[in-house]
């Protein structure tokens, strides 16, 4: 196999259909860029989820009776509840918060609003057992086991609010992937089309190759490589696009959000860990498309 010959054929092929080549590369780049964006969103959401769920608690609010008369959780009802919670599977820590402690926290949170503080009475706040779960998904079983028990008013999960937020973010991610998929379909059709045109414009050469006994690799490798070049160049452009997007858009628009640590920062490390995936997907998918096109449309 003479590499120089194959490569000169590839260059000739790409140059001969330069408009198609550019279209093929750009479409591939956009679809890979969207895929990369989606992957970055997924990473960010995962990190946010870990971060947030570590902070959220399941709260078992205690009855008015316990709230009023048991400031240290020493009654048999309260200490039994605490013991059962501590030994329940998936529970990391259980902290008792008395009515006084709850009121103190309330005062701390709303110290900027003295009118509200004046209106508030400790009697309005129940005592509670604040439960840290190792796996937030275990909430339903805890809720089921403790709701309605003597001494329990109700069981709430702060994670429920987060789940709504993450459902919205999941929707964003899925939308990105759907657009990436549609774009990828366009890219595949373009690659397939370009290879067919390329094979058609070179039908004389291919005809001579076949008759002179060139192997399948010699006749088809240039076309396959054209597709792979489009995939790889598209991947590189997509990565460049993600870097530009980070610097020019994400870092500026979301600067406040990052400062407040609401959303974890997207770093270059994140982009470069997604980069090999994009290059791999780009080249493998392009090669497969090329191979199938040659199989289906080009005679050997």
């Amino acid at each position: 196999m003479r590499a120089s010959f194959v490569f000169s054929e590839v260059v000739t092929g790409l140059r001969r259909n330069v408009t198609m080549t550019v279209a093929m590369i750009l479409t591939t780049a956009i679809s890979l860029g969207l895929l990369g964006g989606g992957l970055l969103v997924v990473r960010t959401i995962d990190r946010m989820q870990q971060d947030y769920y570590q902070r959220v608690e399941t709260v078992v609010y205690l009855s008015a009776d316990i709230s009023a008369n048991d400031p240290g959780c020493t009654s048999s009802t309260c200490s039994a509840l605490r013991g059962q919670l501590e030994s329940a599977p998936g529970v990391q820590t259980v902290i008792f918060e008395s009515r006084q402690a709850a009121f103190a926290r309330f005062q701390r949170i709303f110290q900027g609003q003295p009118e509200l503080l004046q209106l508030a009475r400790p009697e309005a706040l129940p005592a509670s057992l604040r439960v840290q779960l190792s796996d937030p998904a275990r909430f339903p079983s805890i809720a089921k086991a403790f709701t309605g028990r003597p001494g329990v008013d109700r069981v709430t999960d702060q994670g429920e609010y987060l789940r709504q937020l993450f459902r919205a973010l999941d929707g964003l991610r899925n939308a990105t992937f759907v657009i990436a998929l549609i774009q990828a379909l366009a890219a595949l059709l373009l690659i397939s089309n370009t290879i067919q045109i390329s094979a058609f414009t070179r039908r004389a050469e291919v005809g001579v190759m076949r008759l002179t006994g060139a192997s399948r690799w010699y006749t088809q490798l240039p076309f396959l490589l054209e597709a792979v070049v489009a995939g790889v160049v598209g991947g590189v452009l997509a990565i460049v696009g993600l870097v530009i997007g980070k610097v020019a858009f994400v870092d500026r628009v979301l600067a406040g959000v990052f400062e407040a640590a609401i959303v974890p920062r997207i770093g270059y490390a994140d982009i470069f860990s997604v980069a090999p995936i994009l290059l791999l997907v780009g080249s493998v998918v392009a090669a497969l498309t090329g191979y199938l096109t040659l199989r289906l449309y080009v005679r050997t």
Binding site: V208, L211, G213, R216
Partner: protein, 229 residues
């Protein structure tokens, strides 16, 4: 060198078979004409030898290869042993004469130093030594066919198939092309030429295999085109 045994070939689109129980053999170093009217099966026979088509029944042999049984992967082995020339030359318009000839070697992976040595030799053999850098459109029809013959012969095939090689050429030029094919035949290459050209067949007095409606109707060792003429 070439052997067909009870070969038939039918196309789905036609009621009559293109070849009908054809048995014929062409020995090593032989020169044979394949004649007959259009549609008699000449081109089909050549296409079977190149494995462009597969026989419906019967066996086709070229050298030691059973052509119909070759796997896809081994078809190039067959085609490297069989050169072919066509009426329409089939040169690559964007390559020079020597590039056209070299292309046939490049695509089968011959090393560059071999190509550099062999291409001028074969151009000299076909009488185009001064025109290596010309483009095909700068050449006459006869010269273009010489380039095509050079390309078909440059890998020293065992068999040279020629499908109406003089069909586009006038009488004098055709005669020169025939002399060239004879010269190639003298190097030991088997030549099988399909033609309509009465004058050439009559003047060469070589073996003639005549096909009509897909059947061999005549096989003479020193024949002329039409016995009835």
């Amino acid at each position: 060198m070439i052997r067909l045994e009870h070969v038939s070939k039918s196309y789905r689109t036609s009621t009559r078979p293109a070849l009908d129980d054809v048995t014929v053999a062409v020995g090593k170093g032989e020169f044979a004409f394949l004649i007959g009217p259009s549609g008699s099966g000449k081109s089909t026979l050549l296409r079977l030898l190149l494995r462009e088509e597969v026989a419906s029944t019967g066996d086709v042999y070229v050298a030691d290869l059973n052509v119909g049984r070759l796997s896809q992967r081994r078809i190039p082995q067959l085609r490297q042993r069989v050169g072919c020339v066509f009426q329409d030359f089939r040169l690559l318009a964007n390559k020079t004469v020597s590039e056209n000839v070299a292309f046939a070697l490049e695509v089968i992976g011959k090393p560059r130093h071999t190509i550099r040595k062999v291409v001028p030799e074969v151009l000299e053999l076909v009488g185009l030594e001064g025109k290596a850098d010309r483009m095909p459109h700068e050449l006459s029809g006869g010269e273009q066919q010489r380039v095509a013959i050079a390309r078909a012969f440059v890998n020293r095939p065992l068999v040279l198939l020629a499908d109406e090689p003089t069909g586009n050429l006038d009488r004098d030029i055709s005669h020169e092309i025939m002399l060239l094919l004879e010269r190639i035949n003298r190097t030991g290459t088997t030549v099988l030429m399909a033609t309509h050209d009465h004058a050439i067949v009559d003047s060469m007095r070589r073996r003639v295999v005549e096909l009509q409606l897909g059947q061999v109707v005549r096989d003479e060792s020193r024949g002329v085109y039409g016995v009835s003429r």
